[in-house]
């Protein structure tokens, strides 16, 4: 209850500061709309179905990208954590892929995969992959060597050691990577939509900015992305509390 009150208070302070800024500077709505202008625009976008039409597309891209990116990242991160050879072979490629700006890579992926949902999910998965893979690798290696030795002495197979010891002990770090990954997934979806899409919140931002000159609508789309990011982050934290506490 106290946490909720603090959050609401912080939100109220943010809105008051925002409103004050627009009043004091006298900035026109097409540069910085006041909060009530954005709220009114949000209601219209919700009422017409416009916001949900684009939000649904972005959420599906985020969830699919997260699923593909996180699953492959955990698998690769586990392999990297368990084998120095695999790490030496794969690391340069993984780091190189992470170093290339996704904004520059996205149009290429869009063309290679013929556009559509597949290309956008892959772009999203790519941006999610790195923090989760690295967190998994670090977590796997953090398993207590004495416990690992004990598992071996008890005749545990490598698979059992991974499933029963290394992955559970990697969970706190892995969830750290997931927290970063879910917020990056939101960015990934928008970047993917900017590379080529007909709908989604990234597309709505483009339309509002370049097509309609509707700055309040841009704010609505940005706020929706922020809410999705906060929601997903909260979901991961909530799962983390349950899983890590019981592991």
């Amino acid at each position: 209850m106290r946490r909720l009150a603090t959050t609401l208070l912080s939100l109220a302070a943010f809105l008051v500061a925002w409103k004050l800024l627009t009043v004091v500077t006298g900035t026109p709505d097409y540069i910085l709309p006041a909060p009530e202008v954005v709220a009114e625009r949000a209601l219209r976008a919700i009422g017409s179905g416009l916001l949900w039409e684009h939000t649904a597309v972005t959420i599906s891209e985020i969830l699919l990208g997260l699923a593909v990116g996180a699953t492959s990242a955990v698998a690769v991160g586990t392999a990297l954590g368990k084998s120095v050879v695999i790490e030496r072979v794969l690391s340069p490629y993984i780091v190189a892929a992470q170093s290339v700006p996704i904004l520059a890579l996205a149009p290429l992926l869009d063309i290679w995969f013929g556009g559509g949902l597949l290309a956008r999910v892959l772009i999203c998965a790519l941006i999610v992959f790195f923090p989760i893979a690295i967190a998994t690798m670090v977590g796997i290696r953090a398993a207590d060597p004495l416990l690992r030795e004990m598992f071996r002495s008890l005749g545990a197979t490598p698979g059992q050691i991974t499933a029963r010891l290394e992955i559970p002990s990697a969970l706190p770090v892995l969830f750290g990577g997931l927290r970063v990954g879910v917020t990056l997934a939101v960015i990934g979806a928008v970047v993917a939509e900017w590379a080529g899409a007909s709908s989604g919140l990234g597309v709505l931002i483009n339309i509002a900015d370049q097509g309609l000159f509707d700055t309040p609508l841009m704010f609505v789309a940005l706020a929706t992305l922020a809410v999705i990011g906060i929601g997903l982050h909260g979901l991961v934290v909530s799962i983390e509390r349950r899983v890590v506490a019981t592991s």
């Binding site: 540069i31 149009p107 007909s198 483009n206 097509g211 000159f213 509707d214």
Partner: protein, 323 residues
């Protein structure tokens, strides 16, 4: 004559001489002006590069800084840039949305966007676009407006075709890949780039079907009311550069390469693009009322504007008239 007697006439001469010189040789401080162009440097912006390099802007009393932005209209309206280049159709939407910006001089008197496809596959009747896959940057800008205007002229809507968005403006690759049947593009640019890749193309242009006004110079209301002479000086210097390039496109290409060396990576294509662009330019910058009225009605029928702001509030004809 003593040195003292010589000194007095000499001082008098020094004081009087500047007043006798032609006014142009007196150095007055140049007025700093910021010009915003679209996303990235392009040979099609050659008039601005040439006006700067050849000193046309300076001779008009202007010291112009050229920058690129995706938000030209908003930044010009807000006074963070003095002038910009924008699509007339965007000016209509922006003005209707309450953004205080006006179209002051026509750069293109033929609408530069066309539908482009492999030779022999582009319908001449817009009604035959039904069922085709069309690549376009997205639901914004002159390409989108031209596409919808063409579809409307053919009695079609966006639901009668399959539209694929290329927000990075890489629809040429989509056409070369066969992902789409037609693309929207600048008729002086994409066709030449496709032909350079070995694809012969045909075009469906909009001028004869549903005329829309082309891109032009824009300025904010505040500047136009406080200093209309500045706008006239800028538009006149730009027009002078356009005329110089029309007479010899090579000077425009050289200026463009000097401003953005990457343009020189493919000189032949860049020069061909510039030559084709010159064909679309306005001769004198005047604003064509008939095309604006027709385009305004088309934009209203398509739902981009609601008709609440009349054409006369979107344009300022006096800037060019005063030149």
């Amino acid at each position: 004559m003593s040195p003292r007697r010589l000194l007095l006439p000499l001082i008098a001469l020094v004081l009087v001489l500047p007043g006798c010189l032609p006014s142009s040789s007196v150095s007055e401080p140049l007025r700093a002006v910021k010009l915003l162009l679209g996303f990235r440097p392009d040979v099609q912006f050659a008039p601005f590069y040439l006006a700067q390099e050849a000193g046309y802007f300076a001779e008009a009393g202007l010291e112009v800084t050229i920058e690129h932005s995706a938000d030209v209209l908003v930044l010009v309206a807000d006074g963070r840039a003095d002038f910009g280049v924008a699509d007339a159709t965007d000016v209509m939407i922006a003005r209707t949305s309450g953004i205080p910006v006006k179209y002051i001089s026509t750069l293109y008197d033929r609408f530069p966007v066309a539908l482009i496809g492999p030779a022999g596959t582009v319908p001449s009747d817009p009604a035959e676009l039904a069922g085709l896959r069309i690549g376009t940057p997205g639901e914004f800008g002159s390409s989108w407006h031209a596409l919808l205007a063409l579809l409307e002229a053919g009695g079609l809507t966006r639901d009668d075709v399959t539209i694929r968005a290329y927000p990075q403006f890489n629809q040429v690759e989509g056409l070369l890949n066969g992902d789409v049947d037609l693309i929207t593009g600048f008729r002086s640019n994409e066709p030449l780039r496709l032909e350079a890749q070995g694809m012969s193309v045909d075009l469906l242009t909009i001028d004869e079907v549903a005329p829309l006004p082309g891109p032009g110079l824009i300025a904010g209301d505040e500047l136009l009311s406080s200093d209309p002479a500045l706008a006239t000086a800028f538009a006149t210097a730009t027009l002078r550069a356009q005329q110089a390039i029309a007479a010899d496109p090579q000077v425009g290409l050289d200026a463009a390469i000097a401003a953005a060396p990457a343009i020189g990576e493919d000189r032949a294509t860049a020069l061909a693009v510039l030559r084709a662009t010159v064909e679309l330019w306005s001769q004198d910058g005047t604003i064509d009322s008939a095309v604006w009225t027709s385009g305004y009605e088309t934009m209203r029928r398509l739902g981009f504007i609601d008709g609440s702001v009349p054409v006369d509030e979107m344009i300022d004809r006096e800037v060019v008239r005063a030149s």
